[in-house]
């Protein structure tokens, strides 16, 4: 276990009072008035610092949209977002970018890697963007990540030489390598077999438990969601359920009910 060396986050135990990310009454519509699609309808969600949250819901329910807006990647039609207690709704583009660079990690649903860079360069991109090289500790962390994701002999390969699941794992390594406060992962296990998927989930869970990183993960898989401390259910742009740790059976059951209601 790495618990002994990892800094124990002070906010870990007061998390209930200190959300790392907070969405208030968030709405998002796409398109002009004739053909409007409403992806979010007044979502309020607090992500507690250091917690591992799973976001579930039928396809098209607004999970990706919610995640993008909370991460400052897209703008909401109305509502506010705060990250680490700071309102980012009206933050300028450069400040938002710096925030993403230093404090947030991402795994997107698709198109995660820069095609011209190899695996190692893709993983090191967050350091590059910040204009610095990883120090010894960060190097060690990188190697441990690469090893636990089974990418060690792939470091010199380019994205198009990797399978979909390998590309996804590279994106996960990149999202975790700088130990950002908050990691958003959109279906990080969507392309993985159950064993590799479990390795990834264990990694995410330990990032949250041992290093106090906050993780928000979108998933369709009840087993994946059962690794999380909390499961939030979205349907038709609204939060329809919000629970603590659940078993895969409970989650399956809830999902089936949701789909039946839809």
């Amino acid at each position: 276990m790495t618990t002994a060396t990892a800094p124990v986050p002070a906010h870990r135990h007061v998390s209930a009072a200190q959300p790392i990310a907070e969405a208030l009454n968030l709405s998002k519509s796409y398109g002009s008035d004739s053909a409007t699609v409403t992806a979010l309808r007044g979502v309020t969600l607090r992500l507690e610092a250091g917690a591992f949250t799973a976001i579930m819901g039928p396809s098209g329910s607004g999970k990706s949209t919610l995640m993008h807006i909370m991460a400052g990647l897209d703008t909401a039609t109305s509502g506010t977002i705060a990250l680490g207690g700071r309102d980012i709704t009206r933050l300028g583009d450069t400040d938002l970018t710096l925030l993403r660079r230093r404090r947030i990690g991402f795994v997107f649903q698709s198109f995660n890697l820069v095609p011209t860079l190899d695996v190692e360069q893709n993983i090191l991109l967050p350091f590059d963007l910040d204009g610095r090289r990883p120090n010894a500790a960060e190097r060690a962390h990188l190697l441990a990540l690469v090893d636990s994701l089974g990418l060690t002999d792939r470091l010199r390969h380019r994205p198009h030489e990797l399978s979909g699941g390998q590309q996804q794992r590279v994106a996960i390594a990149r999202a975790l390598v700088t130990r950002p406060d908050l990691v958003f992962a959109d279906e990080p296990t969507g392309n993985l077999d159950s064993r590799t998927g479990r390795d990834v989930l264990t990694l995410l869970a330990s990032a949250s438990r041992d290093r106090g990183q906050s993780i928000a993960m979108v998933t369709h898989d009840p087993i994946a969601a059962s690794f999380a401390d909390r499961v939030v259910f979205l349907a038709d742009g609204r939060i329809v359920d919000d629970r603590g740790r659940c078993t895969p059976q409970e989650i399956s059951h809830l999902m089936l009910n949701l789909e039946a209601a839809a």
Partner: protein, 472 residues
């Protein structure tokens, strides 16, 4: 027609607008050049005091054909290049249709049909513009008394020749440029890493061998031209063909040549994140790099060839003049006029190359909007993304300018040498002179062009939110 089809056509028109412009410029050039030659010949025939009309009537069409060939050649290369850039952007859509059962040849034929339409539209527009322009010009000259008032034939059937030639070369160019369509596999519709990566590996040995053969064969012809030129100025025609073939070899092999030069140039740009990424991008994607630089390479090579040839020409005439002053009396004015006229004619082809440069460069930036969106999402600021694009373009520019200057010096020298090597009283061998002012002017103009061509689309690409760009 459905709204979707209209939108689709509008998008295609936007993509093809620069190619239509290139075709129009080429045919306008051809039509104006030929009718101007016609007008001048009529005027000189009517005013045959010097008895030189036969010589002029012989030289003018040859000069016209040479410049027309160059313009059409540049136009065709630029158009082929534009088409392959457009195809690169359509790879996913083509792959998807292939996945759903469309066959490669049908896909390519569809692109070639667009090429024919582009050629017809552009060439007709250009011919019309060229005819109107020369008619007005001739009328003005007559009114001002510069030309005698004669019944000039301004809409002769011969003008159909450049018009048809431009249609055909544009068509051919679209056919060559759409070669890649055949290599698109249905698999590419599925690739999650976004880019048409196959493109990088493709263009294998056969292409490199062809490029080398063209280059060496062309150089052999150039050498033959220079040799013939020692006794007969017609050697320049052999050299012209040699130069065209040799340069074609460079263009075909650009995906091999440019990365090597870029690798060297990239080191000059430091090791910051933007510079490093820019260098990797430029080197790692040889096809795209080659496409983006070809327009610039042609322009720089063309101008350098011309200027170096002119400098050699002047040098030889001066030497000959010093040796036999009585033969070459009054040659100075002739020399200045010729250089001025030829500069304009050559500049026209450079203009066509510039249109191609701006087009391919901005298209390639726009095609990378997803990649740029990803970088933005990961923490590249707008400024850094633009910085990266500009650094990339700068590397491309420097490499193309360096190569163009080198090639142009060689071709220009060979041209002057083959034309004048045997001239009475000349030293026999010309020393190639590269005017410094030329290097500076070319570098500055190229830098400005690339900056404009890449910064505007980079601005557009970064204006969207990262998510908007990612899902583009």
């Amino acid at each position: 027609m459905s709204a979707g089809a209209v939108t689709g056509m509008r998008a295609a028109l936007g993509e093809h607008a620069p190619s239509i412009l290139v075709a129009a410029l080429s045919s306008a050039f051809g039509v104006s050049l030929l009718s101007t030659v016609g007008v001048l010949t009529t005027a000189i025939r009517a005013d045959d005091v010097t008895g030189a009309s036969a010589t002029v009537a012989f030289i003018l069409p040859i000069a016209a054909v040479i410049f027309l060939t160059i313009a059409v050649y540049v136009g065709a290369v630029v158009t082929a290049n534009s088409f392959s850039t457009i195809i690169a952007g359509r790879t996913r859509a083509i792959a998807l249709r292939r996945l759903l059962g469309s066959d490669a040849r049908t896909e390519r034929r569809a692109v070639t049909r667009e090429g024919l339409l582009v050629g017809v539209a552009g060439s007709l527009l250009g011919a019309l513009g060229g005819t109107v322009l020369t008619t007005l010009l001739a009328a003005t000259c007559v009114t001002l008394g510069i030309l005698p008032d004669l019944p000039y034939a301004l809409a002769e059937p011969v003008l159909l020749v450049p018009t048809v030639v431009v249609v055909l070369t544009t068509w051919l160019a679209s056919w060559i440029g759409s070669r890649r369509v055949l290599a698109v596999t249905p698999m590419q519709a599925l690739g999650a890493s976004g880019e048409a990566n196959q493109e990088e590996a493709a263009g294998g040995l056969a292409r490199s061998v062809a490029a080398l053969a063209l280059f060496l064969g062309g150089d052999a012809l150039l050498a033959a031209g220079v040799f013939i030129g020692l006794s007969d100025p017609q050697g320049v025609l052999v050299a012209l063909v040699g130069g065209v073939v040799s340069f074609l070899g460079v263009i075909v092999g650009a995906n091999r040549v440019m990365p090597v030069i870029l690798n060297l140039v990239g080191r000059l740009f430091g090791r910051g994140p933007t510079a490093r990424l820019a260098a990797a991008n430029a080197v790692r994607h040889p096809e795209r790099t080659a496409r983006s630089t070809v327009g610039l390479l042609i322009g720089v090579t063309l101008i350098t060839t011309f200027v170096v040839a002119t400098a050699g020409f002047q040098q030889m005439i001066r030497a000959a003049q010093a040796a036999e002053p009585e033969v070459y009396a009054g040659v100075d004015r002739m020399l200045t006029t010729t250089v001025a006229v030829f500069s304009v004619l050559m500049g026209y082809s450079a203009l066509i190359a510039a249109v191609g440069l701006v087009n391919t460069l901005s298209l390639s930036v726009l095609q990378r909007i997803r990649e740029l969106g990803l970088l933005r999402a990961l923490g590249f600021t707008r400024g850094q993304v633009r910085g990266m694009i500009v650094a990339e373009s700068a590397q491309l520019t420097v490499s193309a300018v360096v190569l163009g200057l080198a090639l142009g010096t060689f071709y220009g020298w060979a041209g002057a040498q083959s034309l004048l090597g045997g001239i009475a009283g000349s030293p026999g061998l010309v020393v190639p002179t590269v005017p410094l002012a030329l290097c500076v002017a070319v570098a500055v103009a190229a830098a400005l062009l690339t900056l404009v061509a890449s910064l505007a689309p980079a601005r557009r690409a970064t204006r969207a939110t990262p998510v908007g760009a990612l899902s583009a």
